[in-house]
Symmetry: C2
C-alpha cells in the first residue's frame, strides 16, 4: 500500500513466467499489437503512437521531453510536488528555457498563474503538468490548463504515471497532446515499462525536428518504426514485461474502465473517511484529493518511522513516507489497481488505529472502520 509498485494480480505474475520468444517473432508481434490496442483503450485515445517505452515512468517523462524539445525551446512547467520538479530538471537537461508555475506541495496549480507564465516570454512550446502528484496526493484539474496551453499555441503535456487506470485520463476528450505513465501504479503491473501516447500534433513536432533526439534509446522517430508496420529492429524489447503489461491491461478491459474508476473512488473515499474519523489530517487540498494515493499528516509527537516499521513488520503493510519538504511530515498510502480493495482499507485502518493507540495517540477503537463502512453503504 505504498506509492507504487502496487500489488500485482496473480494472472500477471503467471504471464511473466511464460517462456521467452524473440522480439521479432511473429507471435510476439501479435502480443505487441494487442498491448498497443489495449493501451489505447485505457488512455481513451485513437492515437496511433501509443506504445510502452522500455523503462520505468521516469523514462516516459524523459521520452516526452527529449522528443518534443529542441535546445532553446521555452517550456512552462507546473511545479507543486516532486514530479513537477523532476519535469523541470529533465526539460532543462534538454536545453529548454524553463519557466516554473509553482504552488505549495499539497495544493493545486492555479490556472491563472499558468496563463501568466504562458504570456510571460517568447512563445511557449509546451505546458507540462502532473495529473496525479504521487508526492502529495493532489489531483490536478486539467480543463483550464488545457485551454490556456492551446490558446497560447503550446502543446499540452501531462504526467499520468499515478493516474492511468485509476482515475480518468481520457486523452482525446481532454485534448492532451502528449502523455506518459508507468506500469507499476494503477495498471498493477511490475515496474519496467512507461506507456506513452502522442497525438498527431505532437508527432508532427517530433518528425519535424531540426536536430536528432538527444537520446538514442528514447528516440520515437526510430522506435515507432519498430512498433509500427515496419517492425524495424531498434532495441530488444523487454519481452517478459510486455507479456505482463498485456495481461494487466486485459484485466482492466475485463473489469471495464468505468467500474474500475468507481472502485478506486470508493475505496479512496472510504480510506479518507476512516483516517479523518481517527482524528488524522489529510494533507492534500480538500476537493482535490486522489483516491489512489492518500497523503496524511504524521500527527505531532508520533514517530513516523516507528509507525511505518510496525505496519511493515507486524502487518506486512508497506506505506510511503514524505519526500523533499514533506519528509517526516506525511505518510503516503496507495490504493492502486489490484491493491485498491475493501479488505486492504479495513486491514490498514485497523492496523494503524492499533499502532497509534499503542503509541499513546488517542483513538477510539473501531471508529475508523465504522466511518469507512458508511462510504461503502454498509
Amino acid at each position: 500500500m505504498g506509492p507504487g509498485p502496487s500489488d500485482v494480480d496473480p494472472r500477471v505474475l503467471r504471464a511473466m513466467a511464460a517462456p521467452l520468444v524473440g522480439h521479432l517473432d511473429p507471435a510476439f508481434l501479435e502480443i505487441m499489437n494487442e498491448a498497443m490496442e489495449l493501451l489505447r483503450y485505457v488512455f481513451e485515445t485513437k492515437n496511433q503512437l501509443t506504445i510502452p517505452m522500455s523503462g520505468t515512468g521516469s523514462a516516459g517523462m524523459e521520452t516526452c521531453f527529449v522528443n518534443l524539445i529542441e535546445p532553446g525551446d521555452r517550456v512552462v512547467v507546473c511545479v507543486n510536488g516532486l514530479f513537477g520538479e523532476r519535469m523541470a530538471d529533465v526539460a532543462a537537461r534538454c536545453g529548454a528555457e524553463v519557466a516554473r508555475v509553482e504552488a505549495p506541495w499539497g495544493r493545486t496549480i492555479d490556472p491563472a498563474d499558468a496563463r501568466k507564465a504562458l504570456r510571460g516570454g517568447r512563445p511557449t512550446k509546451i505546458l507540462a503538468v502532473v495529473l496525479a502528484e504521487t508526492s502529495t496526493g493532489v489531483w490536478q484539474p486539467l480543463a483550464e490548463l488545457e485551454r490556456a496551453a492551446h490558446e497560447a499555441g503550446a502543446l499540452f503535456l501531462v504526467d499520468a504515471v499515478t493516474a492511468l487506470g485509476g482515475i480518468p485520463v481520457a486523452i482525446d476528450a481532454s485534448r492532451i497532446d502528449a502523455c506518459y505513465a508507468g506500469t507499476q501504479k494503477c495498471l498493477s503491473c511490475p515496474p519496467g515499462l512507461a506507456p506513452v501516447t502522442f497525438n498527431e500534433e505532437a508527432r508532427k513536432v517530433v518528425r519535424g525536428r531540426k536536430g536528432k533526439v538527444q537520446s538514442w534509446y528514447l528516440d520515437l522517430n526510430m522506435i515507432e518504426n519498430y512498433w509500427g508496420k515496419e517492425r524495424f529492429y531498434h532495441h530488444t524489447a523487454p519481452v517478459t514485461m510486455v507479456y505482463a503489461l498485456r495481461e494487466s491491461l486485459r484485466l482492466i478491459a475485463e473489469e471495464g474502465l468505468t467500474a474500475r474508476f468507481e472502485r478506486h473512488a470508493q475505496n479512496g473515499a472510504a480510506l479518507h473517511a476512516g483516517l479523518e474519523a481517527m482524528g488524522l489530517k489529510l494533507h492534500a487540498e480538500a476537493g482535490h484529493r486522489l483516491p489512489v494515493l492518500t497523503s496524511v499528516a504524521v500527527p505531532d509527537g508520533v514517530d513516523d518511522i516507528a509507525v511505518r516499521r510496525a505496519l511493515l513488520n507486524d502487518f506486512g503493510i508497506e506505506i510511503g513516507g514524505g519526500l523533499g519538504p514533506l519528509k517526516g511530515r506525511i505518510w503516503r498510502v496507495g490504493l492502486m489497481g489490484h491493491t485498491s480493495r475493501r479488505q486492504n482499507v479495513a486491514l490498514f485502518l485497523t492496523a494503524l488505529e492499533g499502532i497509534l493507540g499503542r503509541l499513546g495517540f488517542g483513538v477510539r477503537p473501531g471508529a475508523a472502520w465504522q466511518a469507512a463502512t458508511r462510504v461503502y453503504g454498509g
Copy 2:
C-alpha cells in the same frame, strides 16, 4: 537460438512470479546488494559502481556515453558492425566529436588503425569497442586496444552485451574502465536490465563533470545514491527484473565462470564444425569467431526467409537474419546461456540439414552432427 533474447532457465521464470515488494523495502535492498555482488563476480571486478540500469542493453550503452562525455569531447569509436555504428551515433548525440576506426562487417578492428585515430587529433577522452559483435559474430581481441587507449590517456570503454556470462570479460584484468552489458544474452535473463560497471578512473570523470548529464534517467551521479549506502530514491527500480537478474546470476555462480565459458566454447565449436561439414561458410574472420553467436553465409540460391520460416514453424527454432549490409546474406545462430546446450546444437544441425536438403542444397545426411560429435569427443 536467435541473437537474443536467449532461453531462460525455469528457475528465473519462477523468480519473476514472486509478489512485488517496494523498491525501498528492506527485503528488496538485500536483493539489490546480492545482485550487485553477483554482478561483480560475473564482470570479474571489484568496482564499487557495478549496477543494473533500468533499461535494455542499448540503455547501458547510452549510460556510458551520456555520463562520460561532455559536449566537444573527442571519442574514437571502433565500427565493424551494427553496434559499433550505434555507439558512434549515441556518442554524437552527446555532442562528442566522433572519430571512426573501421573494419568490414565480419573482420576484427586492427589496433594499428586505432592507434592512428587516437593520435589523429585533439586528445581523446574515450576509445570504445564492441567485444562481441552481435551483428557479425566477431570476437574482438582487446589487449592491444586497451594499451593503445591508455597510452593515449583515453578511457577504455567496452560493449559486452553479448559477451557477459558467455566469454571472459574480466574487467579488472583487462583494465577496462567502463563497460555495459544486457541481461538477455549469455546471462539468460529476460531483456530489461543493462548491467554496467565503472572503475574509479571512470567514476572520477563522471563526478568531475562541468555540466549535468543530459539524461536524468541515466544519471549515474544520482543513481549511485540509490544503489549505494544512501538508498536515496531516484526512480522506481524494475523490482521483478531485479528478482530475475539475481536468480540468473545465482545460476552462473553455481555453475562457475570457468565451467560456463568452457560449455559455451565447446557448444560453439561443435556448431561451427557441423555447419562447415554441411558445406556452409562461416562469415566471421577465422580465429575470431564467437562461440555464443555464429554467423553463417546464406548459400547461393537458397531463400533466407524460407529456411528461417521452416526452422520456426517445423521445429520451433528461431534464428536471426542479417542486419544492415548483411541483410539476406547471413544467418545468426545464438548459443547463449541456457540456450547453449548440446541438444540444441544437435537439433539445429539436424533441422537445418533437412531443410536445406529439401530445398535442393546438396547435403550428406548426418555429416553435420558427426562433425559436431568429434568436438564433444564422442
